[in-house]
């Protein structure tokens, strides 16, 4: 598989099964481009989280080929995975905050793992917590935070290191509409100002409408519902959400 210029992710006939169970993802072939904004939609159990796990390198596929940042992820030695994970920001479905660390230390974790000097870490984390409205909860530990607060900490942790690709699993599920919009604007700002590729898994149709330039990937029973992969939303006049741009197989 050869990368076209500017391809950040390329899946080719990817399948995933857990153990001897049937495949949860089947024949996925699509491409993601730098600086694009993608929504991943689908009903519960459609395979969104499994696909995201492949994207944030928590799982290797059972078959097929995956290239990310120009490298073959299937044959990539395990010891080289951290180099690529540092390019990603991830908002996990259940947040996966480190419970015994404060909100501040959770957000600081990616920067500290990357060796950022402590004064810069403190400034950046303080600013980020203020931006997500959690300055007053900086020293609180996750069990004492509400679901929405935990979600904002998880998002702050995912974006603080300026990832090349942000992957978010239902990132606005536990916050009020106002905060959901604010977080979505954060993703957009990352996307437009920093050039971060954004992939957001959601089943919130209202959310899709708020990012008009986004592209939609629809999963149905482990398969992309249209072979074109990621599709434009809202549909073009005369088209539908399930129809892609004419003459392309890829995400745009």
């Amino acid at each position: 598989m050869i990368d076209k210029p500017g391809e950040i992710v390329k899946f080719d006939n990817v399948g995933l099964r857990y153990g001897t169970d049937p495949e949860v993802l089947t024949d996925l072939s699509f491409t993601l481009y730098p600086g694009s904004f993608y929504f991943l939609t689908g009903a519960s159990g459609a395979g969104k989280t499994s696909l995201l796990k492949l994207l944030y390198l928590a799982q290797r596929p059972s078959r097929g080929a995956i290239r990310m940042f120009g490298k073959d992820m299937i044959t990539l030695p395990r010891r080289r995975l951290p180099d690529f994970r540092r390019r990603l920001g991830v908002v996990f479905q259940n947040f996966r905050l480190v419970e015994h660390l404060s909100a501040f230390d959770n957000v600081a974790l990616p920067l500290r793992l990357a060796g950022t000097e402590e004064p810069r870490v403190r400034k950046a984390v303080a600013d980020m917590l203020e931006w997500v409205g959690l300055s007053h909860r900086a020293e609180a530990r996750p069990p004492s935070l509400s679901g929405g607060e935990q979600q904002r900490v998880a998002i702050a942790r995912a974006v603080i290191a300026r990832p090349q690709m942000l992957i978010a699993d239902e990132p606005t599920g536990n916050v009020d509409p106002e905060m959901a919009l604010k977080l979505l604007r954060l993703f957009e700002a990352l996307n437009t100002r920093v050039g971060t590729t954004v992939v957001v898994a959601t089943h919130d149709v209202q959310l899709l409408r708020k990012v008009p330039d986004s592209l939609i990937m629809r999963l149905h029973k482990g398969q992309l519902s249209d072979p074109t992969g990621a599709l434009r939303f809202p549909p073009r006049p005369g088209g539908s959400a399930a129809s892609g741009p004419a003459g392309t197989r890829d995400a745009r």
């Binding site: 928590a58 810069r120 984390v125 300026r162």
Partner: protein, 309 residues
Amino acid sequence: MIAPPLADKPSREAAPVGSRLAASLIPTSRFGGAMPWVIALFTALVVIAAAGGLALDNLAGNARAQLSGAVTVQVVEAEPALREQKAARAAEILTEEALVRSVRVVPRAELVELLEPWLGEGATSGEVPIPALIDVELTRTADTAEIAALSRALEAEVPGARVDAQSDWLRPVYDALAALQYLALALIALVACATAAAVWLAARSAFANNRETVEVVHLLGGTDGQVTRIFQRAVIRDAAFGSLVGAGLGVAAVWVLGRQFAGLDSGMVAGGALGLQDWAAIATIPLLAVALAALTGRITIAFALRKML
């Protein structure tokens, strides 16, 4: 839209884990687990075993140094006057030997005093023939062939004279001391294995308890090296505490035992006293315990990490 306050783009390279981060990621309460106390116990045992082994080594070395450079000549003759003559002649011959530094014919009164506890009145009555004894100090440690040559030269001139290397008498004692030293070494090796096993179990348990944290650190770009160092710091901290406490207990026990043996006022036991070098060797035990624990912890975590993506 207000731009989000993002940090400067950080390095994509793995960075050393700072002490603050490492300390915070593994939430073990300080000295709370069993591992420090197990290491303390094992370190104390190693210190006592090592001190015992070193004392036995000193004791055997001193005795060997005193005895290996000396022989005893017995002149066996029932007739007292002839025995005195033969002893004098043997002393003359020995004095001429290059191997011999000094010769002392043990006075009869001294011999009687030595034998009286065993022979009773027989020693003083003259009814029991007591051989004449000559203490011979050699210029150096003689081997078996040289002792045999000396014996032949003496036997040719003084029939009935017999040369005994003093070290031969104590060979069984040396063998017993050597066996005890091997026992101490074996005990140290066993305790080291037990320590490694304890650290292995503790590290595995800590890893299992913190698996979620490890996975998150991995997914945020943490390397195996960073994760290993996080756990290793916890292991080193616990091992340092345990080994210092154990070394303290062990040294105290050795000191008390040393005082007890010193009270025996025996020349042989005094030869087993620990010197500065011995104490220096004992001082390395807690350091070695920490190094062993750190290495075991590192290997354990490295193997556990290999099973994760």
